[in-house]
Protein backbone atom coordinates (compact mmCIF):
# COMPACT_ATOMS: atom_id res chain seq x y z
CA UNK A 1 0.00 0.00 0.00
CA UNK A 2 1.33 3.43 -0.97
CA UNK A 3 0.31 6.55 0.95
CA UNK A 4 1.16 10.23 0.53
CA UNK A 5 1.36 13.35 2.72
CA UNK A 6 0.70 16.95 1.81
CA UNK A 7 4.42 17.55 2.49
CA UNK A 8 5.09 15.47 -0.64
CA UNK A 9 6.40 12.42 1.14
CA UNK A 10 5.42 8.89 0.18
CA UNK A 11 5.06 5.90 2.51
CA UNK A 12 5.31 2.33 1.37
CA UNK A 13 3.39 0.36 3.96
CA UNK A 14 4.64 -3.11 4.86
CA UNK A 15 2.79 -4.56 7.85
CA UNK A 16 3.36 -2.25 10.80
CA UNK A 17 6.38 -0.48 9.32
CA UNK A 18 6.80 2.03 6.47
CA UNK A 19 9.52 3.19 4.09
CA UNK A 20 9.50 6.97 3.55
CA UNK A 21 10.78 9.13 0.70
CA UNK A 22 9.85 12.22 -1.27
CA UNK A 23 7.68 12.20 -4.36
CA UNK A 24 8.53 12.78 -8.00
CA UNK A 25 6.74 16.11 -7.73
CA UNK A 26 8.93 17.09 -4.75
CA UNK A 27 12.22 16.10 -6.34
CA UNK A 28 11.33 18.10 -9.45
CA UNK A 29 10.44 21.16 -7.40
CA UNK A 30 13.64 20.86 -5.33
CA UNK A 31 16.00 20.45 -8.25
CA UNK A 32 19.38 18.72 -8.00
CA UNK A 33 19.75 17.28 -4.51
CA UNK A 34 23.27 17.73 -3.13
CA UNK A 35 22.94 16.84 0.55
CA UNK A 36 20.67 14.85 2.81
CA UNK A 37 20.59 14.59 6.56
CA UNK A 38 18.89 11.51 7.97
CA UNK A 39 17.13 10.90 11.28
CA UNK A 40 19.05 8.79 13.77
CA UNK A 41 18.15 5.13 13.81
CA UNK A 42 16.43 4.49 17.14
CA UNK A 43 14.85 7.96 17.38
CA UNK A 44 11.23 8.04 18.45
CA UNK A 45 9.29 10.64 16.51
CA UNK A 46 5.80 12.09 16.55
CA UNK A 47 3.86 12.94 13.42
CA UNK A 48 5.21 16.22 12.00
CA UNK A 49 8.57 16.10 13.85
CA UNK A 50 11.70 17.06 11.94
CA UNK A 51 13.16 13.90 10.48
CA UNK A 52 16.03 15.18 8.41
CA UNK A 53 16.87 17.68 5.72
CA UNK A 54 17.13 17.51 1.97
CA UNK A 55 19.15 20.23 0.27
CA UNK A 56 19.23 21.00 -3.41
CA UNK A 57 21.47 23.44 -5.21
CA UNK A 58 18.73 25.95 -4.57
CA UNK A 59 17.56 25.53 -0.98
CA UNK A 60 17.17 23.39 2.12
CA UNK A 61 13.88 21.64 2.88
CA UNK A 62 12.89 19.80 6.03
CA UNK A 63 11.77 16.20 6.07
CA UNK A 64 8.94 15.49 8.48
CA UNK A 65 7.95 12.29 10.21
CA UNK A 66 4.72 11.38 8.39
CA UNK A 67 3.40 9.42 11.36
CA UNK A 68 4.48 8.58 14.92
CA UNK A 69 6.89 5.71 15.46
CA UNK A 70 10.53 4.65 15.77
CA UNK A 71 13.17 5.15 13.08
CA UNK A 72 14.53 1.71 12.17
CA UNK A 73 16.76 2.43 9.17
CA UNK A 74 18.22 5.32 7.17
CA UNK A 75 19.32 5.09 3.54
CA UNK A 76 23.08 5.50 3.93
CA UNK A 77 23.59 5.34 0.18
CA UNK A 78 22.10 8.83 -0.10
CA UNK A 79 25.03 10.31 1.83
CA UNK A 80 27.40 9.21 -0.90
CA UNK A 81 25.03 9.81 -3.79
CA UNK A 82 22.28 12.31 -2.96
CA UNK A 83 21.34 12.46 -6.65
CA UNK A 84 19.46 9.15 -6.17
CA UNK A 85 16.66 11.33 -4.77
CA UNK A 86 16.34 12.90 -8.23
CA UNK A 87 16.93 9.84 -10.37
CA UNK A 88 14.81 7.37 -8.41
CA UNK A 89 12.77 9.20 -5.75
CA UNK A 90 10.26 6.38 -5.28
CA UNK A 91 12.89 3.63 -5.23
CA UNK A 92 16.63 3.81 -4.49
CA UNK A 93 16.14 7.38 -3.27
CA UNK A 94 14.15 6.36 -0.17
CA UNK A 95 15.07 8.20 3.05
CA UNK A 96 14.22 6.14 6.11
CA UNK A 97 12.16 3.27 7.47
CA UNK A 98 10.09 3.49 10.63
CA UNK A 99 7.65 1.54 12.73
CA UNK A 100 4.09 2.83 12.95
CA UNK A 101 2.75 3.46 16.44
CA UNK A 102 -0.83 4.02 15.32
CA UNK A 103 -2.00 2.56 12.01
CA UNK A 104 -4.94 4.98 11.91
CA UNK A 105 -2.41 7.78 11.21
CA UNK A 106 -1.34 5.92 8.06
CA UNK A 107 -4.87 5.19 7.00
CA UNK A 108 -5.75 8.89 7.26
CA UNK A 109 -3.13 9.81 4.62
CA UNK A 110 -3.87 10.27 0.91
CA UNK A 111 -3.78 7.37 -1.51
CA UNK A 112 -2.17 7.78 -4.92
CA UNK A 113 -5.31 9.10 -6.62
CA UNK A 114 -5.86 11.54 -3.78
CA UNK A 115 -2.27 12.78 -3.97
CA UNK A 116 -2.42 13.19 -7.74
CA UNK A 117 -5.55 15.30 -7.31
CA UNK A 118 -3.75 17.26 -4.57
CA UNK A 119 -0.76 18.19 -6.75
CA UNK A 120 -3.03 18.89 -9.73
CA UNK A 121 -4.63 21.53 -7.52
CA UNK A 122 -1.24 23.12 -6.83
CA UNK A 123 -0.48 23.82 -10.45
Amino acid sequence: MLKFTDEHEWLLVDGDSVTVGITEYAQKALGDVVFVEMPEVGDTVSKGDDAGVVESVKAASELYAPVAGDITAANEELEGDPSLVNSDPMGAGWFFKMTVADMSEVEALMDEAGYNAFIAGLE
Binding site: V34, F35, A60
Partner: protein
Protein backbone atom coordinates in the same frame (compact mmCIF):
# COMPACT_ATOMS: atom_id res chain seq x y z
CA UNK B 1 21.82 42.22 -6.70
CA UNK B 2 18.81 41.45 -4.58
CA UNK B 3 16.13 38.99 -5.55
CA UNK B 4 12.46 39.10 -4.66
CA UNK B 5 10.03 41.77 -5.60
CA UNK B 6 6.31 41.95 -5.14
CA UNK B 7 5.91 44.14 -8.17
CA UNK B 8 3.37 42.39 -10.31
CA UNK B 9 4.41 44.18 -13.46
CA UNK B 10 7.75 42.47 -13.89
CA UNK B 11 9.96 43.75 -16.66
CA UNK B 12 10.92 41.42 -19.49
CA UNK B 13 14.28 41.23 -21.21
CA UNK B 14 14.51 40.88 -25.02
CA UNK B 15 15.04 37.14 -24.43
CA UNK B 16 11.85 36.54 -22.42
CA UNK B 17 10.10 34.61 -25.21
CA UNK B 18 13.19 32.49 -25.81
CA UNK B 19 13.45 31.58 -22.11
CA UNK B 20 9.82 30.48 -22.04
CA UNK B 21 10.22 28.55 -25.29
CA UNK B 22 13.28 26.75 -23.87
CA UNK B 23 11.22 25.68 -20.86
CA UNK B 24 12.94 27.89 -18.30
CA UNK B 25 11.61 28.23 -14.79
CA UNK B 26 11.03 31.98 -14.52
CA UNK B 27 11.38 33.89 -11.25
CA UNK B 28 11.24 37.55 -10.25
CA UNK B 29 14.73 38.98 -9.92
CA UNK B 30 15.54 42.66 -9.46
CA UNK B 31 12.22 43.61 -11.01
CA UNK B 32 12.65 41.34 -14.03
CA UNK B 33 11.09 38.01 -14.92
CA UNK B 34 14.28 35.94 -15.26
CA UNK B 35 15.18 32.30 -15.92
CA UNK B 36 16.53 30.66 -12.73
CA UNK B 37 17.10 27.39 -14.57
CA UNK B 38 16.28 25.55 -17.78
CA UNK B 39 15.25 21.87 -18.06
CA UNK B 40 18.95 20.90 -17.84
CA UNK B 41 18.96 21.94 -14.16
CA UNK B 42 21.36 24.05 -12.09
CA UNK B 43 23.96 21.32 -11.56
CA UNK B 44 24.33 20.37 -15.23
CA UNK B 45 24.13 23.99 -16.34
CA UNK B 46 26.98 24.81 -13.97
CA UNK B 47 29.12 21.91 -15.16
CA UNK B 48 28.35 22.61 -18.81
CA UNK B 49 29.62 26.18 -18.42
CA UNK B 50 32.87 24.96 -16.87
CA UNK B 51 33.34 22.29 -19.55
CA UNK B 52 31.92 23.85 -22.73
CA UNK B 53 30.02 27.14 -23.05
CA UNK B 54 27.02 28.72 -21.39
CA UNK B 55 24.83 31.53 -22.68
CA UNK B 56 23.45 33.84 -19.98
CA UNK B 57 20.83 36.55 -20.35
CA UNK B 58 22.16 39.50 -18.36
CA UNK B 59 20.03 42.08 -20.15
CA UNK B 60 18.55 43.11 -16.81
CA UNK B 61 21.83 44.75 -15.87
CA UNK B 62 22.17 48.50 -16.33
CA UNK B 63 24.19 49.70 -19.29
CA UNK B 64 25.00 53.37 -19.69
CA UNK B 65 27.42 55.85 -21.22
CA UNK B 66 29.14 58.54 -19.19
CA UNK B 67 29.77 61.60 -21.37
CA UNK B 68 31.83 64.59 -20.38
CA UNK B 69 29.94 67.87 -20.01
CA UNK B 70 32.97 70.14 -19.83
CA UNK B 71 35.37 68.72 -22.40
CA UNK B 72 37.50 67.07 -19.73
CA UNK B 73 38.01 63.33 -19.43
CA UNK B 74 34.77 61.93 -17.87
CA UNK B 75 37.04 59.59 -15.87
CA UNK B 76 38.13 62.56 -13.73
CA UNK B 77 34.54 62.92 -12.53
CA UNK B 78 34.01 59.18 -12.00
CA UNK B 79 37.17 58.99 -9.90
CA UNK B 80 35.43 61.32 -7.41
CA UNK B 81 33.02 58.52 -6.51
CA UNK B 82 35.00 55.38 -7.42
CA UNK B 83 38.42 54.32 -6.10
CA UNK B 84 39.76 52.72 -9.30
CA UNK B 85 42.30 54.37 -11.58
CA UNK B 86 39.99 55.26 -14.45
CA UNK B 87 41.78 58.18 -16.12
CA UNK B 88 44.55 55.86 -17.30
CA UNK B 89 42.12 53.41 -18.92
CA UNK B 90 43.10 53.14 -22.56
CA UNK B 91 40.45 52.84 -25.28
CA UNK B 92 39.06 49.30 -25.35
CA UNK B 93 40.21 48.46 -21.82
CA UNK B 94 37.93 47.79 -18.89
CA UNK B 95 38.19 47.72 -15.14
CA UNK B 96 36.16 46.51 -12.15
CA UNK B 97 35.35 49.04 -9.47
CA UNK B 98 32.84 50.09 -6.86
CA UNK B 99 30.62 53.08 -6.21
CA UNK B 100 31.43 54.44 -2.74
CA UNK B 101 29.37 56.48 -0.29
CA UNK B 102 30.87 59.14 1.98
CA UNK B 103 31.64 56.53 4.66
CA UNK B 104 33.61 54.42 2.18
CA UNK B 105 30.79 51.86 1.99
CA UNK B 106 30.08 50.04 -1.26
CA UNK B 107 26.84 51.12 -2.91
CA UNK B 108 27.42 48.76 -5.86
CA UNK B 109 30.11 47.14 -7.95
CA UNK B 110 30.40 47.80 -11.66
CA UNK B 111 32.47 47.51 -14.84
CA UNK B 112 33.90 50.57 -16.54
CA UNK B 113 35.14 50.46 -20.12
CA UNK B 114 36.86 53.19 -22.10
CA UNK B 115 35.28 53.45 -25.53
CA UNK B 116 37.25 54.32 -28.64
CA UNK B 117 35.39 57.61 -29.03
CA UNK B 118 37.55 60.73 -29.27
CA UNK B 119 35.84 62.30 -26.23
CA UNK B 120 36.89 59.38 -24.02
CA UNK B 121 33.27 58.40 -23.31
CA UNK B 122 32.98 55.56 -20.77
CA UNK B 123 30.66 52.55 -20.97
CA UNK B 124 29.50 51.37 -17.55
CA UNK B 125 27.56 48.23 -16.54
CA UNK B 126 25.89 48.14 -13.12
CA UNK B 127 23.81 45.59 -11.22
CA UNK B 128 20.13 45.36 -12.16
CA UNK B 129 18.84 45.92 -8.63
CA UNK B 130 21.06 48.99 -8.17
CA UNK B 131 20.41 50.66 -11.52
CA UNK B 132 18.20 53.49 -10.27
CA UNK B 133 20.25 54.04 -7.11
CA UNK B 134 23.58 54.10 -9.00
CA UNK B 135 22.31 56.44 -11.70
CA UNK B 136 20.90 58.69 -8.97
CA UNK B 137 24.23 58.83 -7.13
CA UNK B 138 26.14 59.64 -10.33
CA UNK B 139 23.62 62.35 -11.17
CA UNK B 140 23.70 63.82 -7.68
CA UNK B 141 27.47 63.74 -7.09
CA UNK B 142 28.94 64.46 -10.51
CA UNK B 143 25.94 65.43 -12.64
CA UNK B 144 27.46 68.88 -13.14
CA UNK B 145 30.51 67.30 -14.81
CA UNK B 146 29.07 64.39 -16.79
CA UNK B 147 25.92 63.28 -18.57
CA UNK B 148 24.69 59.76 -17.88
CA UNK B 149 23.01 58.22 -20.91
CA UNK B 150 21.08 55.06 -19.96
CA UNK B 151 21.19 52.51 -22.78
CA UNK B 152 17.71 51.03 -22.47
CA UNK B 153 17.47 49.71 -26.02
CA UNK B 154 20.25 47.14 -25.65
CA UNK B 155 20.30 43.51 -24.62
CA UNK B 156 23.30 42.01 -22.82
CA UNK B 157 24.31 38.38 -23.09
CA UNK B 158 27.29 36.56 -21.62
CA UNK B 159 28.94 33.60 -23.31
CA UNK B 160 31.15 31.83 -20.79
CA UNK B 161 33.30 28.73 -20.68
CA UNK B 162 36.30 27.11 -22.37
CA UNK B 163 34.38 26.75 -25.66
CA UNK B 164 33.18 30.38 -25.65
CA UNK B 165 36.06 31.51 -27.85
CA UNK B 166 35.46 28.85 -30.50
CA UNK B 167 31.74 29.49 -30.45
CA UNK B 168 31.90 33.26 -30.85
CA UNK B 169 34.86 33.11 -33.24
CA UNK B 170 32.71 30.97 -35.55
CA UNK B 171 30.66 34.14 -36.06
CA UNK B 172 33.52 36.66 -35.88
CA UNK B 173 37.06 35.22 -35.95
CA UNK B 174 38.64 38.42 -34.58
CA UNK B 175 37.23 37.85 -31.08
CA UNK B 176 39.84 35.12 -30.57
CA UNK B 177 42.52 37.82 -30.50
CA UNK B 178 40.93 39.79 -27.68
CA UNK B 179 42.63 39.70 -24.30
CA UNK B 180 40.93 39.44 -20.90
CA UNK B 181 39.22 42.73 -19.91
CA UNK B 182 39.42 44.14 -23.42
CA UNK B 183 36.42 45.40 -25.37
CA UNK B 184 35.70 46.44 -28.92
CA UNK B 185 32.95 46.77 -31.53
CA UNK B 186 32.36 43.50 -33.39
CA UNK B 187 29.89 42.77 -36.19
CA UNK B 188 27.86 39.69 -35.29
CA UNK B 189 25.19 38.42 -37.69
CA UNK B 190 25.46 41.69 -39.60
CA UNK B 191 24.87 43.87 -36.55
CA UNK B 192 27.47 45.95 -34.72
CA UNK B 193 27.75 44.77 -31.11
CA UNK B 194 29.99 45.88 -28.24
CA UNK B 195 31.93 42.82 -27.15
CA UNK B 196 34.18 42.47 -24.11
CA UNK B 197 36.28 39.54 -23.01
CA UNK B 198 34.98 39.33 -19.48
CA UNK B 199 32.38 37.71 -17.31
CA UNK B 200 31.50 36.65 -13.81
CA UNK B 201 31.93 32.87 -13.81
CA UNK B 202 35.71 32.50 -13.46
CA UNK B 203 35.81 31.11 -16.98
CA UNK B 204 37.08 32.66 -20.17
CA UNK B 205 34.28 34.26 -22.12
CA UNK B 206 32.58 37.32 -23.53
CA UNK B 207 29.86 39.76 -22.71
CA UNK B 208 27.99 41.03 -25.73
CA UNK B 209 25.99 44.23 -25.73
CA UNK B 210 23.59 43.90 -28.64
CA UNK B 211 20.70 45.98 -30.02
CA UNK B 212 17.47 44.89 -28.33
CA UNK B 213 15.81 43.76 -31.56
CA UNK B 214 18.77 41.50 -32.47
CA UNK B 215 19.33 39.94 -29.03
CA UNK B 216 16.96 37.05 -29.66
CA UNK B 217 18.34 36.17 -33.12
CA UNK B 218 21.96 36.34 -31.97
CA UNK B 219 21.20 34.20 -28.91
CA UNK B 220 19.44 31.59 -31.04
CA UNK B 221 22.39 31.59 -33.44
CA UNK B 222 24.79 30.95 -30.55
CA UNK B 223 22.55 28.30 -28.96
CA UNK B 224 22.52 26.45 -32.28
CA UNK B 225 26.24 25.77 -31.77
CA UNK B 226 26.70 22.31 -30.21
CA UNK B 227 28.88 23.47 -27.33
CA UNK B 228 26.49 26.22 -26.19
CA UNK B 229 23.61 25.77 -23.71
CA UNK B 230 21.33 28.35 -22.09
CA UNK B 231 22.23 28.84 -18.42
CA UNK B 232 20.02 30.35 -15.72
CA UNK B 233 20.58 32.53 -12.67
CA UNK B 234 20.92 29.50 -10.38
CA UNK B 235 24.10 28.31 -12.05
CA UNK B 236 25.30 31.88 -12.51
CA UNK B 237 25.24 32.15 -8.72
CA UNK B 238 27.08 28.87 -8.03
CA UNK B 239 29.65 29.67 -10.74
CA UNK B 240 30.52 33.09 -9.28
CA UNK B 241 30.50 31.73 -5.72
CA UNK B 242 33.03 28.99 -6.56
CA UNK B 243 35.49 31.59 -7.85
CA UNK B 244 34.96 33.87 -4.86
CA UNK B 245 33.26 36.74 -6.69
CA UNK B 246 31.00 39.04 -4.67
CA UNK B 247 27.27 39.38 -5.10
CA UNK B 248 26.26 43.01 -4.56
CA UNK B 249 23.92 43.46 -1.62
CA UNK B 250 24.93 40.10 -0.15
CA UNK B 251 28.73 39.86 0.05
CA UNK B 252 28.93 43.58 0.58
CA UNK B 253 26.50 46.41 1.13
CA UNK B 254 26.58 50.14 1.79
CA UNK B 255 28.07 49.57 5.26
CA UNK B 256 31.07 47.56 4.00
CA UNK B 257 34.32 49.06 2.70
CA UNK B 258 36.33 47.53 -0.17
CA UNK B 259 39.00 46.55 2.39
CA UNK B 260 36.46 44.68 4.50
CA UNK B 261 34.99 43.09 1.37
CA UNK B 262 38.50 41.96 0.47
CA UNK B 263 38.36 43.54 -2.98
CA UNK B 264 41.32 45.89 -2.74
CA UNK B 265 41.88 45.27 -6.46
CA UNK B 266 38.81 47.46 -7.07
CA UNK B 267 40.96 50.39 -5.92
CA UNK B 268 43.85 51.87 -7.88
CA UNK B 269 47.22 51.04 -6.33
CA UNK B 270 48.37 54.67 -6.13
CA UNK B 271 44.92 55.96 -5.19
CA UNK B 272 44.50 53.62 -2.23
CA UNK B 273 47.71 55.01 -0.74
CA UNK B 274 46.33 58.56 -0.69
CA UNK B 275 42.63 57.83 -0.36
CA UNK B 276 41.43 60.51 -2.79
CA UNK B 277 37.88 59.13 -2.91
CA UNK B 278 34.82 59.06 -0.59
CA UNK B 279 35.64 57.45 2.74
CA UNK B 280 39.30 57.60 1.73
CA UNK B 281 40.60 58.39 5.19
CA UNK B 282 38.84 55.39 6.72
CA UNK B 283 39.92 53.11 3.89
CA UNK B 284 43.59 54.15 4.03
CA UNK B 285 43.52 53.60 7.80
CA UNK B 286 42.05 50.11 7.32
CA UNK B 287 44.71 49.31 4.72
CA UNK B 288 47.51 50.27 7.07
CA UNK B 289 46.09 49.17 10.43
CA UNK B 290 43.71 46.43 9.36
CA UNK B 291 39.93 46.28 9.15
CA UNK B 292 37.79 45.05 12.06
CA UNK B 293 36.21 42.32 9.92
CA UNK B 294 36.93 40.73 6.57
CA UNK B 295 35.16 38.76 3.88
CA UNK B 296 36.78 35.34 3.68
CA UNK B 297 36.28 32.05 1.88
CA UNK B 298 34.85 29.26 4.01
CA UNK B 299 34.96 25.54 3.40
CA UNK B 300 32.57 23.50 5.57
CA UNK B 301 34.24 20.24 6.61
CA UNK B 302 31.10 18.13 6.16
CA UNK B 303 28.68 17.88 3.26
CA UNK B 304 26.01 20.26 4.55
CA UNK B 305 25.86 23.53 2.61
CA UNK B 306 25.95 26.67 4.77
CA UNK B 307 23.48 29.19 3.38
CA UNK B 308 23.41 32.98 3.56
CA UNK B 309 22.68 34.13 7.12
CA UNK B 310 24.36 31.15 8.83
CA UNK B 311 26.06 32.26 12.04
CA UNK B 312 29.82 31.72 12.37
CA UNK B 313 31.20 30.99 15.83
CA UNK B 314 34.66 30.39 17.25
CA UNK B 315 35.70 27.29 19.15
CA UNK B 316 34.24 28.62 22.39
CA UNK B 317 30.89 29.19 20.69
CA UNK B 318 31.20 33.00 20.54
CA UNK B 319 29.66 34.66 17.47
CA UNK B 320 32.39 35.95 15.17
CA UNK B 321 30.58 36.49 11.89
CA UNK B 322 28.00 35.46 9.34
CA UNK B 323 27.83 33.66 5.99
CA UNK B 324 26.88 36.02 3.14
CA UNK B 325 26.82 33.54 0.25
CA UNK B 326 26.90 29.79 0.46
CA UNK B 327 25.78 26.65 -1.24
CA UNK B 328 27.01 23.63 -3.08
CA UNK B 329 29.93 24.04 -5.48
CA UNK B 330 29.34 21.53 -8.27
CA UNK B 331 32.89 21.79 -9.63
CA UNK B 332 34.40 21.80 -6.15
CA UNK B 333 32.21 18.79 -5.41
CA UNK B 334 31.16 20.03 -1.99
CA UNK B 335 29.82 22.96 -0.04
CA UNK B 336 31.50 26.37 -0.45
CA UNK B 337 30.72 29.67 1.23
CA UNK B 338 31.94 33.15 1.94
CA UNK B 339 31.21 35.42 4.82
CA UNK B 340 32.48 38.03 7.23
CA UNK B 341 34.54 37.14 10.29
CA UNK B 342 36.30 39.25 12.91
CA UNK B 343 39.82 40.09 11.79
CA UNK B 344 41.29 37.78 14.45
CA UNK B 345 39.73 34.78 12.70
CA UNK B 346 40.32 35.81 9.09
CA UNK B 347 43.58 34.00 8.42
CA UNK B 348 43.44 31.14 5.91
CA UNK B 349 43.43 27.85 7.78
CA UNK B 350 41.63 29.15 10.88
CA UNK B 351 39.21 26.59 12.31
CA UNK B 352 35.69 28.00 12.76
CA UNK B 353 32.24 26.56 13.33
CA UNK B 354 29.00 27.16 11.47
CA UNK B 355 25.64 27.00 13.22
CA UNK B 356 23.57 24.98 10.76
CA UNK B 357 20.05 24.17 11.96
CA UNK B 358 21.10 24.65 15.56
CA UNK B 359 24.07 22.32 15.32
CA UNK B 360 27.69 23.38 15.21
CA UNK B 361 29.48 22.19 12.05
CA UNK B 362 33.24 22.40 11.59
CA UNK B 363 34.64 24.61 8.83
CA UNK B 364 37.87 26.30 7.81
CA UNK B 365 38.73 29.76 6.54
CA UNK B 366 39.97 29.04 3.02
CA UNK B 367 41.64 30.84 0.15
CA UNK B 368 39.46 31.97 -2.74
CA UNK B 369 38.83 31.17 -5.51
CA UNK B 370 37.81 27.66 -4.46
CA UNK B 371 38.61 26.42 -7.95
CA UNK B 372 41.04 27.69 -10.54
CA UNK B 373 40.03 30.68 -12.66
CA UNK B 374 40.66 30.31 -16.35
CA UNK B 375 40.83 33.77 -17.80
CA UNK B 376 42.66 34.19 -21.08
CA UNK B 377 45.48 36.69 -20.96
CA UNK B 378 46.96 37.65 -24.29
CA UNK B 379 50.50 38.97 -24.54
CA UNK B 380 50.96 42.07 -26.62
CA UNK B 381 51.95 41.34 -30.18
Amino acid sequence: MTAETNNETLLKTPLYDLHVELGAKMVPFAGYDMPVQYPLGVLKEHTHTREAAGLFDVSHMGQCYIHSKNGEDPAIALEQIMPAAIQNLKPGKMRYSVLLNDEGGIEDDLMITRTHDADGKLYVVVNAACKDKDYGIIEEKIGHLVTLEPLEDLGLIALQGPEAENALASLAPEVADMGFMEATAVTLEGVVCWVSRSGYTGEDGYEISVPEETTDALSRRLLAIDSVEAIGLGARDSLRLEVGLCLSGHDFDASITPVEANINFAMGVARRKVGDFPGGEKIVKQLTEGAPKLRVGILPSGRAPAREGTEIVDESGKAIGVITSGGFGPTKGGPVAMGFVDAAHAEVGTAISLMIRGKSQAATVAAMPFIEQRYVRKTKK
